[in-house]
């Protein structure tokens, strides 16, 4: 999965958010390393919507402006959990080897 898509799912894992809030959350999660531009952000959101990993939870009007609030779907949550497990396994192996452990037999 692309890094941006993974970060968008992460930003939505604990709370439903609108587009701008998602972009700010991604910046916060990555300490400013990833600051998605609008086109890239909505391109990735559209793709996640089409893949059924996120859904529009509701629409609200703030200051006369309509905006969609996005939320993780069950599929999106499952996918994020799988990715988290994969990353955690890799991180664990990195730490083990850095601590001087030997490579497991293949």
């Amino acid at each position: 999965m692309q890094e941006l898509a993974l970060l968008l799912l992460t930003a939505l894992a604990n709370e439903s958010r609108h587009g701008y809030a998602i972009a700010q959350e991604v910046k916060a999660i990555t300490d400013g390393r990833v600051a998605p531009r609008t086109g890239a952000l909505y391109g990735a959101l559209d793709r996640l919507l089409a893949d059924g990993l996120i859904a529009v939870e509701r629409e609200e009007v703030v200051g006369g402006r309509a905006r969609r609030i996005f939320a993780l779907t069950a599929d999106g949550r499952g996918r994020l959990e799988t990715e988290a497990e994969r990353l955690a396994a890799t991180a664990q192996e990195m730490r083990r080897r850095l601590a001087g452990g030997t490579a497991p037999a293949t």
Binding site: G19, T38, G39, Y42, G43, R67, R68
Partner: protein
């Protein structure tokens, strides 16, 4: 907002978010953000964004287009190199007397070949940009020196079509590892015997562009065996005009 098609209902929301996101940016950063938004709008309008069927199709086709560009660039480079190395004069004197036109031609071939390899190995965005510059340069060079091409400029048209296939791939959609590996293997298999023939080290003829075509067919068989076989096969066909052009010219 007018750039977005009427069917795309999120245009107003995107514009609001864009205003908020670019409020504190410098002039240059805002220009880049605007360009990104325009590119997204154009992709949505053309049905080439990463969520649409068109975008997903070209996502499949782009690795093959890069591989074809790399193989064709590589074969042409070997043809040039063989001319230099096999000719009676010393290689250095041949290189020293290379004129500007020939030098430019070689640069475009290097970009096609090197860009394709770089993109498929690791740096997708950088490599694909190099490859597109090489392909379009190769095509534009026809206006400068038509003598370098066959009478019917099928290769020129094929190079432009190949560049369009690469450009149509949605940004940030780096090729998945498996298609990139298959495409890379196809490029290597297409290039290697041609290189050996040109350097007089191979006994089988590759006239009439037959060998790259055989490679294409072989890759097609491999792709067809995959779960999304027909779609991949169609993507391969769209990506292969540079392989087909020499065969068509030879007919």
């Amino acid at each position: 907002m007018r750039l977005y098609p009427a069917r795309y209902q999120a245009a107003a929301e995107i514009l609001d978010v864009h205003r908020e996101m670019t409020m504190d940016l410098s002039r240059l950063a805002r220009l880049r953000a605007d360009a990104d938004l325009v590119a997204h709008a154009m992709r949505v309008r053309l049905g080439l964004d990463s969520a649409s069927a068109g975008g997903r199709f070209f996502e499949l086709a782009a690795p093959f287009a890069l591989a074809v560009a790399a193989a064709c660039g590589g074969i042409e480079l070997m043809r040039w190199y063989a001319g230099v190395a096999i000719s009676p004069g010393s290689t250095w004197s041949q290189l020293a007397t290379t004129d500007l036109r020939q030098g430019l031609h070689v640069v475009f071939l290097l970009l096609m070949c090197g860009g394709g390899i770089v993109a498929l190995l690791e740096y997708w965005r950088f490599g694909s940009r190099l490859s597109v510059v090489g392909l379009l340069g190769f095509a534009a060079f026809w206006f400068v020196a038509p003598g370098y091409y066959e009478e019917l400029p099928l290769e020129v048209i094929a190079a432009v079509l190949t560049a369009l296939v690469i450009l149509a791939c949605p940004p940030q959609r780096r090729a998945h590892r498996k298609p990139a590996t298959v495409a890379g293997a196809m490029a290597a298999i297409a290039w290697f015997p041609s290189a050996l023939v040109l350097t007089r080290g191979f006994v089988v003829s590759t006239d009439y562009g037959a060998w790259p075509l055989l490679t294409l067919i072989l890759t097609g068989v491999v792709c067809y065996a995959r779960p999304s076989g027909l779609r991949t096969l169609a993507a391969l066909a769209v990506a292969s005009p540079l392989f087909l052009a020499p065969a068509l010219i030879s007919l």
